[in-house]
Symmetry: C2
Subunit: 217 residues, 2 copies
């Protein structure tokens, strides 16, 4: 499949491109600046320009699936959380619906299913992700929502703890590499379509953990 | 009717309480601090404590209708825009649905119907209001959404320009007093239920302007 990765230069996106390549897909890396094109190519992706706050729909041309792993990040203002994490996701969902791109994998966040359970400085972020997820869930697209807990830059283990449509509050952090590998596994079939899956670090091989008949890892 | 005003100490809320009283309603002023109780009483409202970021549903006890005119305002961070304007509104809608309070008047903003038409520094605010409005529209409540343009502190004229489910881009600013009077008129019947109404300053008497058979003022 041609898989367009929105946020291809981010922590998960960078790791995802070569994994998609290895799995036989054709990854497209959507980035905001041509300065990032070489990096995308080195990682096996076809670079295309697209800006979630501006024009980006043309970058999705020919895609069979989308992975949304863009985020304003912690070093920008909350206005960017609204414009990128929330509204950018909504724009991406609309663009896919309009272009008939049916498969959408969203990188969300643990807790985004119910912001009322979260307090403290992260709450606005959780609300933004909740709204984005809900927009996707109410769309006509075949969606998988992955909700990883705290992310690390550790090497991937190929193992996770996955909770289908459940959201336990405690568990181990998970590496960005294992989240990226989980995306590839999701795209390998439709077993995870229609589910929101909380991801922690864990000991179950990813392919096994992402079968929906397993309610816990 | 018992009308609970969320954001009763704001620019529109303060003007709304005495107008509700004059119209024979029993206004309840929901505020975040007991320091504001005297002000609410002086304006003819029954003060109750409620915080959109914390517990506020008990403040709605016995209400027949809700007016949501709370907003984080320009002097706080965008995180508050997410927590108050967007998520606070969603919490209010949920609380009303749970308590069987059917009538909900939302003070939104011109342009909130389609954030894609807006750019610039106000856009995150418009997105937040759009999401809040949409949540209300998709709820089971009988909603009126008022979308005033730029607000002034001028005296009320009793006249506006109202556009039902339309959103022209230009027009005169409108006074907070005339927005408050428009709320009272909306609550006077169900003529505006199910509509999103853009409000500009104008020359049509409010009662006439808020009849839905008038597509423009």
């Amino acid at each position: 499949m041609v898989v367009a990765v929105i946020g291809a230069n981010g922590g998960i996106g960078r790791r995802l491109l070569p994994l998609l390549n290895d799995a036989g897909h054709e990854p497209v890396g959507v980035v905001r600046s041509e300065d990032q094109f070489d990096t995308i190519r080195e990682r096996g992706g076809e670079p295309r320009l697209g800006d979630l706050e501006d024009e980006f729909a043309p970058a999705l041309e020919g895609a069979d699936a989308i992975v949304f792993t863009a985020g304003a990040g912690g070093s920008t203002g909350w206005d960017k959380t609204i414009l990128v994490d929330l509204w950018g996701a909504e724009r991406a969902v609309r663009a896919c619906a309009k272009r008939g791109i049916d498969r959408f994998v969203m990188i969300s966040s643990r807790g985004a299913g119910d912001p009322e359970r979260r307090q403290g400085p992260i709450k606005p972020y959780i609300v933004a992700k909740h709204v984005a997820d809900r927009t996707l869930q109410r769309s006509s697209l075949d969606e998988t929502i992955l909700r990883p807990t705290r992310l690390t830059d550790e090497e991937g283990t190929g193992r996770v703890a996955a909770y289908f449509d459940e959201d336990p509050e405690t568990g181990d952090p998970i590496s960005r590499a294992d989240v990226a590998q989980s995306v590839v596994t999701c795209l390998d079939g439709d077993a995870t379509v229609g589910h929101a899956i909380t991801l922690y670090g864990g000991g179950t091989p990813i392919e096994e953990a992402l079968r929906p008949d397993r309610s816990t890892q």
